[in-house]
């Protein structure tokens, strides 16, 4: 039975699921959210209107983390979650830290990209939050090189797309926000492992390409609007 995934890969949450599915060797039938994220049409599929949503076996499951756990439960023969409970917890901690402490701090930076009209106090506050969040991630990761152990799992699938996103949209623009995969030894080792892992690298590259296409589209739209 086909497994359908709604949502564009330009979302780091969708990329989490595609990376996890790729690690499991599962084929997902992908489609953009009909009517777009938050549309009434898509809300008929997923009540929250958010992407991704997974349709399988007559059910719709929302929220990327829940979807990954579902795929691991529904296809246990390619189980990704480590059998060792502590390693599993460390991997899940990295997901949770990504969702609760990394993800919320990207959006507030957007209006401050241009140094000419930047509020440095906002940037400094975000820099501090990112510094803490990456510190938490490094602290709770297990023995490496991946988030927990020598194979990638749910935590890697959550954090890697976010790092890819920040490398495109944040670190090059804000000199006071360092890339933790350069400055933090544990995250440096981790990122190197992700880059050297075939399936992880393919997923991160795919996500980054889709994201840069999406960003180019937005830039074009803004330029057109400015001309009008």
């Amino acid at each position: 039975m086909a497994i359908k995934l709604w949502g564009s890969i330009a979302s780091p949450y969708v990329a989490r699921v595609t990376m996890f599915a790729r690690l499991k060797g599962l084929e997902l039938e992908q489609a953009p959210a009909p009517g777009g994220m938050g549309s009434d049409e898509f809300k008929k599929i997923n009540a929250t209107g958010k992407i991704p949503a997974l349709e399988h076996d007559g059910h719709v499951i929302a929220e990327c983390e829940t979807i990954c756990e579902y795929l691991d439960d529904a296809f246990p023969e390619s189980r990704i979650t480590p059998a060792d409970p502590m390693l599993a917890a460390q991997s899940r901690m990295v997901s949770r830290i990504t969702d609760l402490y990394v993800a919320p701090h990207n959006t507030p930076l957007r209006p401050h990209k241009n140094p000419a009209n930047r509020d440095q106090a906002v940037v400094d506050a975000v820099a501090h939050e990112f510094d803490k969040a990456f510190g938490y991630a490094a602290h709770y990761m297990g023995k490496g090189p991946f988030a927990a152990g020598d194979t990638p799992g749910i935590g890697d699938c959550a954090l890697a797309p976010f790092i890819g996103m920040l490398q495109q949209t944040v670190f090059p623009y804000f000199e006071t926000i360092p890339d933790p995969t350069v400055s933090n030894p544990r995250l440096k080792d981790w990122w190197q492992a992700v880059q050297e892992h075939e399936a992880c690298k393919a997923s991160v590259d795919e996500y980054e390409q889709e994201l840069s296409k999406f960003l180019a589209y937005i830039a074009e739209l803004m330029a057109k609007r400015a001309q009008q």
Partner: protein, 218 residues
């Protein structure tokens, strides 16, 4: 194993109920969230944190519950089928991502004289959406996903009790979904009739109320 925190936190209560349903022994050690002493244990500074028998640490209530589940799989704290497990986890997720941030907005709006109507209106839209999501994503009745309480119930039970004290008691114009939404009414009745869930939810209500009074007097 030891759990650090206080029962007045719905996150701590989630882990305690989950462990209790599974018959896993957890010793509650008082901890002050955000204090320097506590951050030395859990740099995030939030409660709960779990100390394992071999001295390792895990934070975040949902991760702690999954760890306890992996460590002692029987009796399971999650339903049997993959879809029902997803439904139970979805309930947790909806609480953490939608209900919890909406509920937090009421904390500074309790006093009617200092109330900002715009904040309350916005919070209420979000709160009601989260209730609709919960009812939508729940699985088979009467609990969050099936005939036994599982992870999602452990998360939602304390939050529902909290919004009863924090929101519905102070804002009578906001409907209590355990009275108005049939699925959530069925669910709440099941929690209230369950011999393990009910006493802990009651204990939490007392602890939360005491904390509220402490802040009011402080």
């Amino acid at each position: 194993m030891k759990i650090y925190g206080a029962l007045a936190s719905p996150f701590v209560a989630r882990a305690i109920l989950f462990a209790r349903l599974k018959g896993v022994d957890l010793e509650l050690v008082p901890a002050r969230p955000g204090s320097a002493d506590y951050k030395a244990i859990n740099p995030i500074g939030k409660i709960p944190a779990l100390e394992t028998d071999d001295g390792q640490w895990i934070a975040e209530s949902e991760v702690i519950c999954e760890y306890i589940e992996d460590l002692s799989p029987e009796p399971s704290g999650l339903p049997a089928t993959p879809i029902a497990r997803a439904q139970s986890r979805m309930v947790s997720r909806v609480v953490d991502l939608y209900l919890s941030p909406a509920a937090a907005k009421y904390a500074r709006q309790i006093n009617p004289e200092k109330r900002d109507a715009a904040i309350v209106a916005e919070a209420t839209i979000e709160l009601e959406k989260s209730f609709a999501y919960l009812a939508h994503f729940m699985g088979d009745e009467p609990f969050a996903a099936g005939d036994k309480p599982t992870l999602g119930d452990c998360t939602l039970a304390f939050y529902m009790q909290m919004v009863k004290i924090l929101v519905f008691a102070n804002f009578p114009e906001i409907a209590d979904p355990t009275e108005t939404n049939p699925r959530l009414k069925t669910w709440w009745d099941a929690i209230q009739s369950h011999e393990v869930c009910k006493p802990l939810v009651d204990e939490y209500a007392v602890a939360f109320d005491q904390m509220m009074q402490y802040f009011r007097n402080a």
